[in-house]
């Protein structure tokens, strides 16, 4: 990739996630409109800590292969690069290799010869501990100071790269960049920044396109094309029947972000307070006035997950209005009975395991924030047990089984039989994880925490 200055850069964003699927015609239209690069996010922390903790992709391989086929064939035909960020959902090293393996298969089948770069973002607790000891790791709210034990307890830690490692790979000649964990925006910002586009419009455009068509009036109809230049950017949907409006574009700045005016990236902060959104026509929007303030200290954000225990789930259901009329008392009795029976049968005190009893149809989702009162028509009862090992979690759920089948309300003098959803009633969920890091590392070199391997053509 040359780094000659250009007047504008067109970024094609097919979708919010690799594997989500799209109509290939939308990609062809983006190419016809003059796309200079295709960028797509392949991951997020959005779906919870399991994917990082276990290094498991959320998407299925066939969906990733289908989408990569669409992108790689189109990009190879047009001679433009493809950038994929946060490979394998969480951006672990195995996630990068998983996507690289699928890409290699697709390229072999399609007879494509493209140079692939893999950028690894997984972090080693021992090396991070040196940064911690040197006072270079800082918490982001609401978490507090990091402790070394927390780093050591993580099964996986990744750092979210900025655009620099991606630019470095492009400059080294990569036609396909498969990045580990990257900020959602770095994936789309890398190529325009390399081509000299200004940081304010570039990072703002990158935020707007990071979820594909979510900034349009029909998010199900495919992605968008952002054209970035010296003064701002324009954005247009890839599907000619879909529109961007000043409201739909501005509103996307609110999505999944705590602060709608500022967004921190590794090298500074995007500031959209003075951004102006105007309609170019009925479906294209122009944005100007976005600013970027370079930070005094370059920082890389860390994400880490650890095992909290092993879980077993059991699910039964209640339809009898006599029980439903007294459902809270029934649930209180259930909690008491489980605790007693587990103590009697397994000899476990209540601080040696944990369980959550959820009344779906009554107040499971909002729990004590639930504002509605009155008896439900039907309730699904989920018992979720967490214990230090799987066998104990399942033993506790099995001790609870007769209660989940027959527990009466305190006022009943007979045993009802409740509606188990499956046989067996218990489902082993395996290891359960939690996110424990929300910290940044001070870095002098934007690429120092990341490792890049560039393969020969098709040698992914």
């Amino acid at each position: 990739m040359d780094s000659e200055p250009v007047k504008s850069v067109r970024v094609l964003s097919p979708s919010g996630m690799l594997g989500a699927g799209w109509d290939h015609a939308t990609i062809e239209r983006g190419i016809a409109l003059g796309a200079d690069v295709i960028s797509i996010d392949a991951g997020s922390t959005d779906s919870g800590p399991y994917y990082l903790g276990s290094a498991t992709p959320k998407t299925t391989a066939k969906a990733v292969a289908r989408d990569l086929r669409s992108l790689l064939t189109a990009a190879a035909g047009a001679g433009i690069p493809v950038i994929v960020g946060s490979c394998g959902t969480s951006g672990t090293d195995s996630g990068v290799d998983w996507v690289a393996g699928i890409a290699a298969e697709v390229m072999a089948e399609e007879g494509l010869s493209l140079k692939v770069a893999r950028i690894y973002s997984e972090q080693n607790a021992a090396e991070l501990k040196e940064h911690l000891d040197a006072g270079r790791i800082h918490p982001l709210p609401p978490l507090g100071q990091l402790r070394a034990e927390t780093l050591e307890s993580c099964t996986r830690i990744v750092g979210a790269m900025g655009h620099e490692p991606i630019v470095q790979a492009l400059r080294a000649g990569a036609q396909v960049v498969l990045a580990g964990r990257a900020t959602d925006t770095a994936v789309a910002a890398a190529y325009p920044l390399m081509k000299g586009m200004p940081a304010g419009p570039t990072w703002h455009a990158a935020k707007i396109v990071e979820c594909g068509g979510q900034c349009t009036d029909n998010p199900r109809a495919g992605g968008v094309l952002a054209t970035i230049d010296a003064d701002g950017f324009t954005i247009e949907p890839l599907d000619p029947a879909v529109s961007c409006t000043p409201i739909s574009v501005a509103a996307h700045m609110l999505y999944e972000t705590a602060n709608p005016f500022e967004m921190r990236e590794p090298d500074g902060t995007l500031d959209v307070r003075d951004a102006r959104y105007t309609a170019v026509d009925g479906r294209i929007v122009r944005v100007e006035g976005s600013r970027f303030h370079v930070a005094d200290q370059y920082t890389i954000k860390l994400e880490g997950a650890r095992i909290t225990g092993y879980e077993t789930m059991s699910f039964t259901a209640i339809r009898d209005p006599l029980i439903l009329a007294d459902i809270d008392a029934w649930a209180d009795l259930m909690r008491t009975m489980i605790t007693q029976r587990v103590d009697q049968t397994l000899g476990l005190a209540d601080d040696e395991y944990a369980f959550d009893l959820r009344l779906y149809g009554h107040n499971a989702v909002l729990d004590d924030l639930e504002p509605e009162i009155g008896p439900p028509r039907e309730v699904g009862v989920m018992l979720l047990v967490n214990a230090p090992d799987q066998a104990t979690a399942t033993a506790i759920a099995k001790v609870a089984n007769p209660l989940m089948l027959h527990l009466p309300t305190p006022a009943m003098d007979y045993l009802p039989s409740l509606a188990f959803a499956s046989s067996p009633a218990e489902v082993e969920r395996g290891a359960a994880y939690e996110f424990v890091l929300n910290h940044v590392v001070d870095c002098d070199d934007p690429t120092s925490l990341f490792r890049t391997e560039i393969g020969e053509n098709t040698d992914a």
Partner: protein
């Protein structure tokens, strides 16, 4: 007659996780009049949100955006994402207590 709620005056009320440790909500009000009601600090403020969601008032952030008729509210998730007691992985259903807030009664209470 049933009370008028914020949802009645809104095009959309939504909630979503903003990273594993924060939840954020938006009231997309239908028009400037609805926005004026939702953005009224004597009606909807950090203290009211703290009571509604049982969180620390000092952790609640509110953003009022008249150009979009939007009021946005963010605060740390009381239960971290994916933990045993997290019943709403994407925090996508936690807008409901906010959406059903009656506008008259609360406005009266704060007067």
């Amino acid at each position: 007659m049933p009370e008028t709620t914020l949802a009645d005056l809104a095009h959309e009320v939504r909630s979503k996780n903003a990273g594993p440790f924060w939840v954020t909500m938006e009231l997309f009000m239908r028009d400037a009049e609805g926005y004026r009601i939702a953005a009224d600090e004597s009606f909807l403020n950090e203290r009211v949100i703290a009571e509604l969601y049982r969180v620390e008032e000092s952790t609640v952030q509110m953003f009022r955006i008249p150009s979009l008729n939007v009021v946005k509210i963010s605060f740390p998730r009381p239960i971290s994402q994916g933990s045993l007691r997290d019943r709403d992985m994407h925090a996508g259903q936690h807008h409901v207590p906010l959406a059903r807030m009656p506008i008259k009664r609360s406005a009266d209470r704060d007067r």
